[in-house]
């Protein structure tokens, strides 16, 4: 599904955010992306979506290599849920936020409505349809943010810190919801418990470099290694 090969990203000020990162996300697989603050998790997600210029390497989704010309196609195939749901939800009503992507795909209003209703139902938040986006709780905003991406029917999801600021109940609902989704998911997080419950594989970033990759159990139960990774 998603192939990242020798990816490097350098910011204009010379700071190297990512260096020679290589990994693959297979269909239906849930992979955790962990690392200390500033390790490059968010930069990696932004680079995959074509929001950061790539200095070197390649990103490909279903055989389509990321370039300026193909960025729109990649963004239809991969949905990203940002860390702050307030950035994700910028329309007045939840309905319009969830409909934003399908409308940009040029679908008719009937088809848009169908996708919106289906995405909201999939996450069990149909009741939020007519609510004002900025009047939702953080947990509801997070769900609405995920719905806004699901309505575009992506093949893979990239989630940046999905459980941050959630109370235990909202976090449980999030985990159950993510587990029920058929899409492949790359989850950037500090929440190691969420990783244990959701992900089969873990990728560890350290100072912009991929420092470990493997089975969740092997990495998460090795305290020495976690300490070494700054976690």
């Amino acid at each position: 599904m998603l192939h990242v090969k020798n990816l490097s990203v350098t910011y204009p000020d010379g700071h190297k955010a990512l260096s020679d990162v290589t990994f693959t996300l297979h269909d239906g697989e849930r992979v955790a992306l962990i690392g200390a603050n500033g390790a490059g998790k968010s930069s990696l997600i932004r680079a995959i979506m074509g929001l950061l210029p790539i200095s070197d390497g390649e990103v490909a989704v279903d055989g389509i290599s990321l370039s300026k010309r193909t960025a729109r196609d990649i963004r239809r195939m991969v949905g990203v849920v940002f860390q702050n749901p307030d950035d994700q939800l910028f329309m007045t009503r939840v309905y319009d936020d969830v409909a934003f992507g399908p409308r940009n795909m040029g679908l008719s209003e009937d088809a848009v409505a169908e996708r919106v209703n289906s995405a909201l139902a999939q996450l069990d938040i149909s009741r939020l349809k007519d609510r004002m986006s900025d009047r939702l709780s953080v947990g509801e905003k997070r769900m609405a943010g995920i719905a806004s991406v699901l309505s575009m029917s992506p093949g893979a999801l990239l989630l940046d810190e999905p459980s941050s600021s959630l109370d235990p109940r909202a976090r449980r609902i999030l985990i159950t919801t993510l587990r029920s989704l058929p899409q492949a998911a790359l989850i950037a997080t500090h929440d190691l418990d969420l990783v244990k419950r959701l992900c089969t594989r873990v990728i560890v970033l350290q100072d912009g470099m991929l420092s470990a990759e493997g089975n969740s159990d092997d990495i998460l139960f090795d305290e020495k290694k976690l300490e070494q990774f700054g976690l």
Partner: protein, 258 residues
Amino acid sequence: MPQPDFGFSGATLGLKALELLAEGDTVIHRLHPFVKLMTTIVYVVVVISFGRYEIAALMPFFFYPAILMPLSETPCAAISKRLLPALPFALFGGLSNIFFDRTPMVIMAGMAVSGGVVSFVSIMIKTTLSVSAILLLVSTTGIVSLSRQLAALGIPDAIILQFTLTYRYLSVLAEEAGTMYDCYMLRSSDSRGIRMKDMGTFVGVLLLRGIDRAGRVYAAMKCRGFACSLPTHDSARAFDICYLFIVCGTIILLRCFT
């Protein structure tokens, strides 16, 4: 009991409230956005076209907001509240007429009323009518639909994009300002507002935070297929066309015979 001061949050709510009104389901809301846009353009152009001393001729044009408000179930207060910020501009523009144009125009209750006063009143009426019509258009159509219609009319995408994003970022900026204002006030309980000595820092930081936040919102928009162009609406129905001809025809006839 004193009401809490909503400050910037109140301003954000006001902006969104107008957009929420556009979600209504009345005969006016159901009209095709193109029809509403064209009717409003014709109305505003006709109102502005009157001479500066033609107050009486403007009176019949109050029919437009007076009929549209109940038909669209738009509360009068929602329009008048948002009309008020526009009036000072007209007020200052019109005030100079009072000083420079002192030619007596009419005698009222034995007193000569100068041309400046007449033109001042005319400017205020024109502003009230035009801004009300535009507010009614926004409150029954919504910014997104309006932008799409402007695109359909051939207005360059770059201009529409500026319009849409400015509107969108206005609420983002108001939210940021609200958060900063609340944090400031919570740590300066003796202050009744932002002190002048802190104003420069406040505005500077607000600008930086606004740009940063706007960048993140734009990234989220791009990730969901936003490509600086807007899909167009379905075509207008026969009823929409009838409405366009009847209302625009009435407005033009009123212009010709008043």
